[in-house]
C-alpha cells in the first residue's frame, strides 16, 4: 500500500472517531426526542409546541443574545477606537487592562458580579448605608442582570477583534483619503468602517453564539426567568428526559440556524490592505486638558472593569461566617486559601479540575496534530469531513453537548457503539475534549497551514525520517500554534461549568461545582478563593500563551 493510501485510511479512521464522539451524540438526541416506548412518535414534539414556557424560553434566548450583541458592540467598538487611535497617557497599560474580563471564566464572572452588584454585594450595601434604607436597594435578577453580565464579559470580543483590525489599518490609506479631500467623517464611514466589517461580524457571531450557549448567568440570575439552556437543565432535573431531548434539539437548531444566517449575511473575506502599508498615525487629542480628561475617563473605566476582579480577591479573604449585615467585611484572613490546601475535601475539586483539564488538553492537542498533518499535509480525501467535525462543537451550545453525551454514554450497547461512561471519571475529560476541539483544531490547523512545506522537505533531504522530522522540525515550528491551542483549551476546561453540571459526580466534581456548592452553603469566602485561583490560572495561561506567540 502506498503511503498516500495509508494516510487516506488514517483520515477515514480519524473522521469516524470524530463522528462517533461529535456527531453521533447529537443524532441520538434527535432520535431520542422522536422515540417513545412504542416506537416513533411526535408526542413529545407536540407537548413541546403546546407549552407556553418553551416558546418563552426560546424567545428569551433569542432576544437576550441579540441584545447582548448590540450592547457588547456598543461598548467594545468605541473602546477599540479609543485605545487604538487616540494617544493619551497610560494608553498601553490601560489597553491591556480593558481586556481583563476575558480572564474570568463565566461562572467566576457571575459570582464576582454577585458579590459586587448583588443585593448583598458591596454596591448594594453601600447605597443602603448611604441612604439609610431598610431593604437592599435592588435585586440583581432577571433578564437585565443576565444582559449586564453578558455585556461585561463579551464586549472584549468586539474590543480585541476591532483593535486588531484597526492596528492593521494602512496609515497610507487614511492619508490617501485625506489627500483626496475626504473629511474625518467621510474617511470613517467609507474607509475605516468597511475595513472593520469582518472584525465586527466575527465578534458579533462569537457574541451571539456565546450568549445563546450562556448558562452561568441565566442559572444564577435567572430565577424564574428561563432561557433554553436553563430550561433544559430544569426539565431534566424534573426527570422529564424525553422532553429535554426535544428542547435540546430546538436549541441546537436555533444555534445552527443563527450560524447559517450569519454566514449568509457575511460570507467573510478580509479587507486586509493590499500593500505593505505604514502604521497609521495616532490621533492626538487636541489640548492638554482634553488629553487629561480622556486619560481620566479611561482610568475610571478601567477601574470599573476591574472592580469584579478586585471584589473577588477581597471576598476571598473573608473568613467563613464573619460577614453578615456590615457594609464592609469586619475581618480578613488568608484562612480560606489555607483550607483549600489543608482539607482533602476542599483540595479534591482543584485536583479534579487540574487533571481533567490536562487530560482533555493533551487529547485535544493530539487529535488536532493528527488532523493537521492529515488534512493540511497529506490532504486526505476525508479532509473536509474532518475539519467540519472538528468545528461542529463550536456551533452547538455546551448544554446540548452535555445532554447528548449523557444520552450516548449512559447505555451499554456495543452494537450501537454505546457504553456507560456517565458516572465514571472519563465522561468529563471526554466532554471537555469535545468542547475544546474547535479552538485547538483551528489554532493547530492554522499553524500547519503557515508551516513552510519546504522545511519538512529540507529535513527529508538531510536524511531525517518521519519521526525525527516531526520531533525536530514540525513540532518546534508549530510551537506558537500549539501554545495558543493548548492554553485556550486548558483554561476553558479548567473553568467549565455548563457541561460539568450535567455530567459530574461527587467524586469528580470540578472547581466550578464546588464554587456553586460553597455559595449555596453561604461560604462566600471559599467560593471567592476558588474563583481567584481560576482567575489567576487563566491569567497566567494567557500570559504564557501571549509570550509564546510573541517569541515566534
Amino acid at each position: 500500500m502506498t503511503s498516500a493510501r495509508r494516510a487516506g485510511w488514517w483520515g477515514w479512521l480519524l473522521a469516524a472517531a470524530l463522528a462517533w464522539i461529535v456527531a453521533y451524540p447529537l443524532v441520538l438526541v434527535l432520535v431520542d426526542g422522536l422515540r417513545g416506548s412504542e416506537g416513533w412518535t411526535l408526542d413529545e414534539v407536540r407537548r413541546f409546541a403546546s407549552r407556553r414556557s418553551e416558546w418563552q424560553a426560546l424567545w428569551a434566548s433569542l432576544w437576550l443574545s441579540t441584545a447582548s450583541v448590540v450592547l457588547a458592540g456598543a461598548i467594545g467598538v468605541p473602546l477599540a477606537f479609543l485605545f487604538e487611535r487616540v494617544d493619551f497617557p497610560g494608553r498601553k497599560p490601560l489597553g491591556v487592562l480593558v481586556a481583563l474580563p476575558a480572564v474570568l471564566p463565566p461562572l467566576v464572572g457571575v459570582v464576582a458580579f454577585l458579590f459586587l452588584y448583588g443585593e448583598t454585594g458591596f454596591a448594594g450595601r453601600l447605597v443602603q448605608v448611604l441612604f439609610h434604607l431598610e431593604d437592599p436597594p435592588w435585586r440583581l435578577a432577571g433578564p437585565g442582570a443576565i444582559l449586564l453580565v453578558h455585556a461585561y464579559s463579551m464586549y472584549v470580543y468586539f474590543y480585541l477583534f476591532c483593535r486588531a483590525a484597526l492596528s492593521r489599518l494602512d496609515g497610507a490609506m487614511l492619508e490617501a483619503a485625506s489627500a483626496l479631500g475626504a473629511g474625518r467623517w467621510r474617511t470613517l464611514v467609507h474607509v475605516i468602517l468597511p475595513h472593520l466589517r469582518p472584525a465586527v461580524a466575527g465578534a458579533a457571531l462569537l457574541t451571539f453564539m456565546t450568549s445563546l450557549a450562556s448558562f452561568s448567568a441565566p442559572y444564577i440570575f435567572g430565577g424564574g426567568y428561563r432561557v433554553m439552556t436553563t430550561q433544559i437543565v430544569f426539565t431534566r432535573l424534573n426527570g422529564d428526559d424525553r422532553l429535554a431531548m426535544v428542547e435540546t434539539t430546538a436549541l441546537m437548531l436555533l444555534a445552527l440556524g443563527a450560524m447559517a444566517l450569519f454566514r449568509r449575511a457575511d460570507p467573510g473575506g478580509s479587507l486586509a490592505g493590499v500593500g505593505k502599508g505604514t502604521a497609521p498615525a495616532l490621533a492626538r487629542a487636541g489640548s492638554a486638558r482634553a488629553r487629561a480628561s480622556i486619560a481620566a475617563a479611561a482610568w475610571l473605566l478601567a477601574t470599573v472593569l476591574l472592580l469584579p476582579h478586585l471584589t473577588l480577591l477581597l471576598v476571598s479573604f473573608v473568613p467563613v461566617g464573619t460577614w453578615t449585615t456590615e457594609p464592609w467585611p469586619p475581618a480578613f484572613s488568608p484562612g480560606n486559601y489555607a483550607a483549600l490546601f489543608a482539607e482533602p475535601e476542599r483540595l479534591r475539586p482543584l485536583v479534579n479540575s487540574l487533571w481533567m483539564a490536562t487530560a482533555a488538553t493533551v487529547a485535544a492537542v493530539a487529535v488536532a496534530l493528527a488532523a493537521g498533518s492529515l488534512v493540511v499535509r497529506r490532504r486526505v480525501p476525508a479532509r473536509r469531513l474532518i475539519e467540519g467535525l472538528l468545528g461542529l462543537p463550536w456551533a452547538v451550545p455546551g448544554t446540548v453537548f452535555a445532554i447528548a453525551l449523557a444520552a450516548l454514554f449512559s447505555v451499554h450497547s456495543p452494537l450501537t457503539l454505546r457504553t456507560v461512561l456517565v458516572g465514571t471519571a472519563w465522561i468529563l475529560p471526554l466532554a471537555y475534549l469535545i468542547r475544546n476541539l474547535p479552538v485547538t483544531g483551528r489554532a493547530i490547523l492554522a499553524g500547519f497551514r503557515q508551516l513552510d512545506p519546504a522545511l519538512e522537505e529540507a529535513a527529508a533531504a538531510l536524511g531525517a525520517g518521519r519521526a525525527r522530522t516531526f520531533r525536530r522540525v514540525v513540532l518546534p515550528a508549530l510551537a506558537p500554534a500549539l501554545a495558543a491551542g493548548a492554553t485556550l483549551a486548558f483554561v476553558t476546561a479548567l473553568g467549565d461549568f455548563v457541561t460539568s453540571i450535567m455530567l459530574y459526580t461527587y467524586d469528580t466534581r470540578p472547581i466550578s461545582l464546588e464554587i456553586l456548592g460553597s455559595l449555596r452553603q453561604g461560604d462566600v469566602g471559599v467560593a471567592a478563593a476558588y474563583g481567584v485561583l481560576l482567575m489567576i490560572a487563566s491569567a497566567a495561561v494567557f500570559a504564557l500563551g501571549a509570550r509564546g506567540e510573541a517569541r515566534a
Binding site: 513552510d452 519546504a454 522545511l455 522537505e457 529540507a458 529535513a459 527529508a460 533531504a461 538531510l462 536524511g463 531525517a464 525520517g465 525525527r468 525536530r472 522540525v473 518546534p476 515550528a477 510551537a479
Partner: protein, 349 residues
C-alpha cells in the same frame, strides 16, 4: 557511463504536463543549469530528482543504480531551497549539523564537520548565531553549508540566488561557482535568469513547457540556437518576419539578405520564416535605396556600445548595436546584416 541520468521523465499535475519526456545525462563533477521561463517544468524536474515528486513515467539513475523509487531520505542528494528553508528554531550550527546527525555523526566529529562546512562558505565561527539575525546572503550560505555538510553525491539548487538583491547576487554567484568547482561536486541548478545559468552551468538545459528545447554550453546556445524560442530567450534578438529564398538567402522586407538556413529540414524557397536578429547581427549605415531604411527612435547607452531602436517604414522594430556616437534619435539610417547573429526558422516554430 553517465554519473546521473534522467531517462524519459514525465510528470503531470491535474492533466497538465509539467515535465514531458525529459532525458538528460550528467558526468561526474558537471554542473547543469536548468533554465526556462516560469512554468517550463524546471522546478518540477529538480523535485523529481530530489524525490519530492514521483515521475508518472521515466527513471532517475545514479551511477547505474535506479533511484526512482527511493524516498528523498535515502537518495543522499543535497538540496538548497529557494527560500532556504532554514529551521528557524535552530541556530546556524544546529542547522548545519542536522543532516550529519541523520547519518549518525556525533560528538567531536560532528563539531569538526560543522565547522568545516561553515568555513567552506566563509561563515567560520557562526555556529551559535540565530538564523533570523543573518542577512539574506548569509542565510543563503548557511543553506549551502547545510546541504554540503553530509557530503551529498549530487547538489540540487532551486533558484539559489533569486532572493538576493542585484549587487549581492552577482558576488554570491561568483562565490558559488568557485565553491562548486573547487569541490568538484555534481550539481543541478534551477534558474530563470540566463546570467545565472551562463555563470554557474557547465552546460545549460533550456526547458519549455516541460520539454528540453536545447542542451549545450552557453556559447552554443547563443551562437547556434536550435529554435526561435532559444534564440529569443537567450540573449537579445529582434524578431522579423521573412521569407526563405534558398539555403543561403532570405528576403527581409523588400531586400535579399545572405542568411544561412539553420533547419530543421531543407530550405523551401518562398516559405514564410522568422528571422531572429541579434543586435550585433545588424549594422547601421547611411540610408540608401538598396537598403532597409528606418528612423532611430531610441538610444540606450551601456558603455562601449549603445543599442539603437530603429523603426522601419514597413512597421518593423529592430534593435541594433553600434558605437554610441553612430546616430542620434530621429536620424534616418540604413540597416545591413553583418553576417553573424542572424538565425532563420520556419514561421510555425
Amino acid at each position: 557511463m553517465a554519473f546521473l541520468e534522467l531517462d524519459g521523465l514525465s510528470r503531470s499535475f491535474r492533466g497538465q504536463r509539467a515535465v514531458d519526456g525529459l532525458s538528460l545525462t550528467l558526468e561526474r563533477g558537471e554542473v547543469l543549469a536548468l533554465l526556462g521561463p516560469s512554468g517550463s517544468g524546471k522546478t518540477t524536474t529538480l523535485r523529481l530528482l530530489a524525490g519530492f515528486e514521483s515521475p508518472d513515467v521515466g527513471r532517475v539513475v545514479l551511477e547505474g543504480r535506479d533511484v526512482t523509487a527511493l524516498a528523498p531520505v535515502a537518495r543522499r542528494f543535497g538540496m538548497v531551497f529557494q527560500h532556504y528553508a532554514l529551521f528557524p528554531h535552530l541556530d546556524v550550527g544546529a542547522n548545519v549539523a542536522f543532516g550529519l546527525e541523520s547519518r549518525g555523526v556525533r560528538g567531536a566529529e560532528l563539531a569538526r564537520r560543522v565547522a568545516e562546512a561553515l568555513a567552506l562558505v566563509d561563515l567560520a565561527g557562526f555556529e551559535r548565531r540565530t538564523v533570523a539575525n543573518l542577512s539574506g546572503g548569509q542565510q543563503q550560505r548557511v543553506a549551502l553549508a547545510r546541504a554540503l555538510a553530509p557530503e551529498p553525491s549530487v547538489l540540487l539548487l532551486d533558484e539559489p540566488l533569486s532572493n538576493l538583491d542585484p549587487a549581492l547576487r552577482e558576488r554570491t554567484r561568483r562565490e558559488l561557482r568557485a565553491l562548486v568547482h573547487r569541490l568538484g561536486i555534481t550539481a543541478v541548478v534551477v534558474t530563470h535568469e540566463q546570467e545565472d545559468a551562463f555563470d554557474l552551468g557547465d552546460r545549460i538545459a533550456l526547458l519549455r513547457q516541460g520539454r528540453l528545447e536545447q542542451l549545450g554550453t552557453a556559447d552554443e546556445l547563443y551562437a547556434a540556437p536550435a529554435t526561435a524560442f532559444v534564440a529569443a530567450f537567450i540573449g537579445r534578438a529582434s524578431e522579423i518576419p521573412a521569407r526563405t529564398l534558398s539555403d543561403r538567402a532570405a528576403q527581409v522586407d523588400a531586400f535579399t539578405w545572405p542568411i544561412r538556413w539553420g533547419g530543421p529540414g531543407p530550405a523551401t524557397a518562398g516559405a514564410a520564416a522568422r528571422l531572429l536578429a541579434r543586435p550585433e547581427g545588424l549594422r547601421l549605415t547611411d540610408p540608401a535605396p538598396d537598403r532597409l531604411a528606418g528612423t532611430v527612435t531610441d538610444r540606450r547607452f551601456t558603455g562601449a556600445v549603445a543599442y539603437f531602436s530603429v523603426a522601419t517604414a514597413s512597421g518593423l522594430e529592430l534593435e541594433v548595436a553600434a558605437p554610441p556616437g553612430a546616430a542620434r534619435e530621429g536620424d534616418a539610417v540604413g540597416i545591413e546584416p553583418t553576417g553573424v547573429g542572424l538565425h532563420l526558422y520556419p514561421a510555425d516554430r
